[in-house]
């Protein structure tokens, strides 16, 4: 088998994943991209979406990230995500509850509230997350 790629995914609160993998597919703002070992140095911003870790052709792990950066150096791939969760840790029901909670907050805010934008972003993120889990 070919060389392994060192991949680490860190969020502000913790290191979500770090290890040797074959192949990582990540959602760049200009389109999804795959990284294998010996990729050229490359940096891009990420949009909210799914990061897939592959061994051979098999998806080993799915991680959902909320914005951030990918940085490919000779040392490996580093993804700095603002929020990141492993999809296998999630249950669709709990996300539903969270969506409802944020929606309630959104309704409670006035139409001119400065928090509206942030709350709407939260709702969008959680809905995208729910779709990713149910897919």
């Amino acid at each position: 088998m070919a060389d392994k790629l060192h991949f680490s995914l860190v969020s502000p609160t913790r290191e979500v994943f770090s290890g040797e993998v074959d192949h990582v597919v990540a959602p760049g703002t200009d389109g999804e991209f795959g990284v294998l070992a010996h990729h050229a140095p490359f940096m891009t911003t990420l949009k909210t979406g799914l990061v897939r870790v592959l061994e051979g052709d098999v998806v080993q792990m799915k991680l959902f990230v909320r914005g951030g950066f990918a940085d490919v150096t000779p040392a490996g791939l580093t993804i700095l995500a603002e929020e990141a969760v492993n999809l296998s840790d999630l249950k669709i029901e709990t996300i539903g509850v969270q969506i409802d909670a944020v929606r309630q907050k959104l309704l409670a805010e006035g139409p001119d509230s400065p928090h509206r934008g942030a709350l709407q972003e939260d709702v969008d993120y959680l809905e995208a997350l729910r779709d990713a889990v149910s897919a």
Partner: protein
């Protein structure tokens, strides 16, 4: 000489104080462990973020007109100080040291004829500086509801800073917080936030002659990255501050417990002496009474 009864009461009261300080010390020790773990967990992200910023800025090259957050507003007339302290006292010199550091900075800036604005984070620093600098306060961040979840507060403050900078409210922002060196030492530190400075100790990556590819472009990435870098700096400062507060509180309460112990020993000695003196006195009275017969 205090009476026996008084001494006994004092010993009792010191003992209950000691129990409280002992309990506070243990609570602080438990909280310290959690706060330290949180601070350590945040380190990989902050370090990598710093590396990315360092790489990007070195790739941009000197003199390039990067985003304003990096290059500054071209002036350094108005300074914004973000002064970060704890919400609670009973942690020794922790808040006082940070406040002292803040005072020195404010005085130095004012002596240079700069305009100073202050955002305080944490109640204690605000209280300490209120008497002299209340007119400079522009905002306050209340962390009493944070309950160990600092991320939303850090992002909020970071965004607020970016917005104020965009609005031209200040030229230079400096964060004053307590750096958590270890459990015994917390050093008040000033860290320049805006214009952002790439950390000197970041490891720049050796690309073996190949060229970095940027998507969409360097400028766009930097534009997106810097506000996040700012948030990250604020968050790690908050986490270090929280760990430092607990460490300082633990040390202070440990000292208090020991002092109370010493006080109890010396009071007990006094009490025993007084008791013995009274017994001796009574004996002498009885003996001299018997001899007189």
């Amino acid at each position: 000489m205090a009476s026996l009864k008084e001494l006994k009461n004092r010993i009792g009261s010191v003992k209950s104080t000691q129990k409280i300080t002992k309990a506070k010390q243990m609570v602080a020790a438990a909280k310290l462990r959690r706060a330290q773990e949180a601070a350590d967990a945040a380190k990989p992200y902050a370090r990598r973020m710093a590396n990315v910023v360092a790489n990007l800025t070195s790739a941009m090259g000197e003199g390039a007109s990067g985003p304003k957050l990096l290059s500054g507003s071209g002036s350094d007339q108005t300074h914004l100080l973000v002064i970060m302290t704890a919400e609670r006292g009973l942690c020794g010199g922790f808040n006082a040291n940070t406040a002292k550091r803040a005072r020195l900075t404010i005085e130095a800036l004012q002596a240079d004829g700069k305009t100073v604005k202050i955002i305080t984070v944490g109640k204690k620093g605000r209280e300490a500086l209120k008497s002299d600098y209340a007119s400079l306060f522009v905002d306050h961040v209340d962390l009493s509801e944070a309950k160990d979840k600092y991320t939303p507060f850090a992002i909020g403050l970071g965004k607020d800073l970016s917005a104020r900078f965009e609005a031209g409210e200040f030229d230079v922002a400096t964060l004053i917080f307590s750096e958590f060196k270890n459990v015994m030492t917390q050093a008040p530190t000033a860290l320049q936030l805006i214009p952002a400075e790439a950390p000197a100790d970041a490891d720049t990556v050796d690309l073996n002659g190949s060229i970095y590819l940027y998507e969409p472009g360097e400028a766009e990435i930097l534009e997106d990255l810097l506000p996040r870098y700012l948030n990250t700096l604020v968050l790690s400062a908050m986490l270090e501050n929280a760990a430092g507060e607990q460490a300082a509180s633990m040390t202070a309460m440990d000292n208090a417990t020991r002092n109370a112990g010493e006080l109890i020993d010396s009071l007990t000695l006094k009490y025993n002496r007084a008791r013995q003196a009274q017994i001796t006195k009574e004996l002498i009275e009885i003996i001299s009474g018997a001899e007189a017969l």
